[in-house]
Symmetry: C2
Subunit: 186 residues, 2 copies
């Protein structure tokens, strides 16, 4: 093998190694960043217990920057929808002046309940990191698991009864929406 | 048969008939009331289209009185959680000074999406009347049906990726909650 060939092979190997190291370094940095954001969500959940809210916190990040964070304020604000994720989504949207959070990641101290998971989908958040899971939540008395099971059932089988009424009259608003040319879709 | 017996039987029959008529009347009245409330929710949904919101409205009733009503304001308020049902729940709770709506009925112009159904469960609303259904919503481009399907999947199979992170650290807030003696549960 000529010296030139050996040199080229060495360079290629070194370049590959350096790339692999850089990639590894980036992954490590990302992992550290994810942990840092999760610890922030966890801190919010602990502070929330101390100030009288539910034990939940959430942080939303876009392009490496926090765009919204919140804890649960159901009992403080008399608002059953004021879970940490919903509050954080509302703050992030308000801060960014948008109703869509594409490109965002949410770090939540607990696996989202169906309401919050629905909110995350409507907001188009890209990725969810969570600390505690739904079973942990059930173990301290939160109904997430029950609500997940209810949503899985056919409407007629759910505990909360649902009845259709006046569908022929309700459809008119949908026709108005379909025919509106200057609507803001979401 | 003596005259007394005939009289007693006649009285019993008349009383039963009168009860049945009264019950029927009450049911008719109730049905008329439910329709009146649904028509109000439908009117809100139509007004919402005209003022630039989504085509949805909701009314919450307790003991025959409206305690909160709203239309969808997602794009108007830059808030992806501002569906008609969530907005109406927030208003009703604010008006009644509570985070629970036991004894309430919600009339919504469209079958609730998973986020709103979750909110209805967290609020402990007793009954749901809806006009349009999830398929009608899908036909004008709303993702309810897709989100219902996603929630049915195991977390690992969902489109939006979910990853557990630092559960050993997250659990501390739950322990704090469990041990807190003066907490407001919900």
């Amino acid at each position: 093998m000529g010296k030139k060939v050996i040199l080229l092979i060495s360079l290629a190997l070194m370049s590959g190694l350096s790339c692999a190291l850089a990639q590894n370094c980036k992954n490590m940095e990302n992992k550290d960043f994810h942990k840092e954001m999760m610890r922030r969500a966890i801190r919010l959940s602990e502070e929330s217990v101390n100030k009288g809210g539910g034990p939940f916190g959430a942080v939303i990040v876009k392009d490496g920057k926090i765009v919204g964070e919140a804890s649960n304020s159901v009992t403080i604000d008399n608002d059953p929808t004021a879970h940490a994720e919903v509050n954080a989504i509302r703050k992030a949207c308000s801060n960014l002046g948008t109703f869509e959070l594409d490109g965002c990641t949410i770090y939540t101290s607990c696996e989202p309940c169906p309401m919050c998971l629905g909110a995350i989908y409507w907001a188009h958040i890209d990725k969810i990191y969570y600390g505690n899971d739904a079973k942990d939540a059930a173990s301290i008395g939160f109904d997430d698991d029950f609500i997940y099971k209810e949503i899985d059932l056919a409407p007629a089988d759910r505990r909360t009864k649902m009845e259709e009424l006046l569908p022929d009259e309700a459809i008119k608003a949908f026709d108005m929406w379909r025919n509106k040319t200057d609507k803001t879709e979401y």
